[in-house]
Amino acid sequence: MKNYNNCSVEDLVLDAYFRKWSLGELPTKDTFWEKWLEEYPEKTQLIEDAKSLVIALKVKNTDMFSDEEINDGIQNILVETQHKYPGLKIISFKWLRIAASIAIIFGLSWWMTSKNVLNITNIDTISSIEQKATHTNHGKQSIIFELADGSKITLEPQSELRYGNEFGKEKREVFLTGGAFFDVAKDTQRPFLVYTGKLVTKVVGTSFRIQAYEKDNDISVAVRSGKVTVYRQDRKSKNSKSLSTEIVLIPNQKAVFEKEQELLVKTLVDKPIRLDTIPENASLVFSETKVSDIFSRLEGIYGVKIGFDKNVFNKCTVTASFQTETLYEKLALICEIIQAKYEIVDGEIMIYGKGC
């Protein structure tokens, strides 16, 4: 180990090993500096000065660029360089500007003059493995397309879906920004994974809708059919997926991921649909029906669990006729009749009241 006894503050600040220690970047096992200080307590002041200087001179990282922007930037470069004639694909002022600047560079480089300018056309498109497909919807209406595995995607406006060329070979992985409805072809061997920021949605074969717009504070995954698993993507602990961060959703349930706090909550979709084959607006008539029967009927129709205290509500009966009302409207009406309230807790409905 090098002798630091005659070092000045400047020397220490410039020393890579000392800098690492000051910034807490050395492994905890490495106690060289602590021991050194014990040996030379008179150097405490010097060390402390140098340490402060190291920390003070650390330049703040700019947070001007989001991960999203960085990824998009990289994609743009890849797209622009993968075609023989990029100008034909992306005709814009941006391209003209690039063309102009490339022309200037070429013009100024004397060794480029004779042979090389035309060589641009010889660029081949190699290694298709790395290439990625991107579906972008800049329009005002949703677009529908099918992936190689037969899954159907309805991509909402201002949304983008990306996937690698490897899609479908071993895994089915797609990256979504914005909103989309997925009708996933069943394939138990290869689960279908949707990545949206820090949230991952995993399914085998089902249909569900994801809304992951950048402008929104949360990401939501709403299930239409089948079973869907949603979990947070922790880069550090990929293997130790803790139970609390994984949520299993059944139809009409929805997971909401609050981005800032990184909270993942299970709730119900905004408008639950009938899961039986009966049309949505078929009438539903109850006459002096026990409320517990009504609840279990609704449970059956919407596949949503309704919890209530049987003893409290055993005397309650309801007479009502429903047609176009949503599940929530029906519940509100029933609750008004039996003097109760309902809440959505963890993807289920809970009824509270004093009974009749």
């Binding site: 070092c7 503050v9 400047e10 020397d11 600040v13 410039l14 020393d15 890579a16 090993y17 800098r19 200080l37 405490t44 002041q45 060390i47 402390e48 000065d49 402060s52 200087l53 190291v54 920390i55 003070a56 001179l57 650390k58 330049v59 703040k60 990282n61 700019t62 001007m64 660029f65 922007e69 960085i70 930037g73 990289i74 743009n76 470069i77 890849l78 622009e80 360089t81 993968q82 990029p86 941006k94 500007r97 690039i98 600047s101 490339i102 560079i105 060794w111 480029m112 090389n116 060589n119 641009i120 660029i123 081949d124 190699i126 290694s127 493995i129 790395e130 290439q131």
Partner: protein, 200 residues
């Protein structure tokens, strides 16, 4: 005093560069993943216009891809890219200046860094007033000193590479950094002395 040891990354870098020059897309992609964010981060320090910096970095990568067969071998990909971007930004901003109104970019290119003093010193209960004085000392650094410090301490580049990026000689880089540290130290620690009597 400084360890000028050979960066082990340089070996991988050299291989990566060779692969890139052969036109391997995966090598190009790795280059992008590795250096694109770093170059943005460097670029905005000259010019706080995000879109301008993004365009500059975009153009740089498109340019090196198109010219890849004619590029020479490089010792350090990182400093090659930093240097190239620096040149492009200076050239481009000169061009913009020529086109735009003079008062819009009245000053020469700056180098803008924010030092990380607050978190550390506040936790040590140093008064705001002292903190402001420290900040003032840091602000007094010239833009060249800031850039040299950034390249040395944030990007961990050796002196020779900093010299070639900034297009100045080796000795000047050492002087820039030493002078910066010395002047800050002399002016600061006089102010700070009482608070520094304990060791955490």
């Amino acid at each position: 005093m400084v360890n000028q040891k050979v960066n082990s990354n340089n070996v991988d870098d050299a291989l990566l560069w060779q692969a890139f020059k052969r036109g391997e897309r995966s090598a190009f992609e790795t280059l992008l993943q590795q250096y694109y964010p770093m170059l943005l981060n460097y670029g905005v320090r000259f010019y706080r216009d995000k879109e301008f910096v993004k365009d500059s970095v975009h153009d740089l990568f498109v340019e090196i891809w198109n010219r890849r067969e004619h590029l020479s071998d490089v010792v350090s990909v990182k400093s090659y890219l930093l240097q190239a971007l620096r040149k492009n930004i200076i050239r481009e901003s000169g061009r913009l200046k020529w086109f735009r109104e003079a008062d819009e970019i009245s000053e020469k290119l700056n180098f803008d860094v924010e030092f990380n003093i607050e978190t550390h010193f506040i936790s040590r209960e140093i008064e705001t007033e002292t903190l402001q004085k420290l900040q003032m000392e840091l602000d007094k650094l010239t833009k060249r000193q800031r850039e040299a410090i950034f390249l040395r301490f944030t990007q961990d580049l050796p002196y020779e590479e900093i010299a070639s990026i900034m297009a100045i000689n080796y000795r000047s880089v050492i002087n820039l950094i030493h002078e910066a540290i010395k002047s800050i130290r002399q002016n600061w620690f006089l102010l700070l002395l009482p608070s520094f009597l304990y060791f955490s």
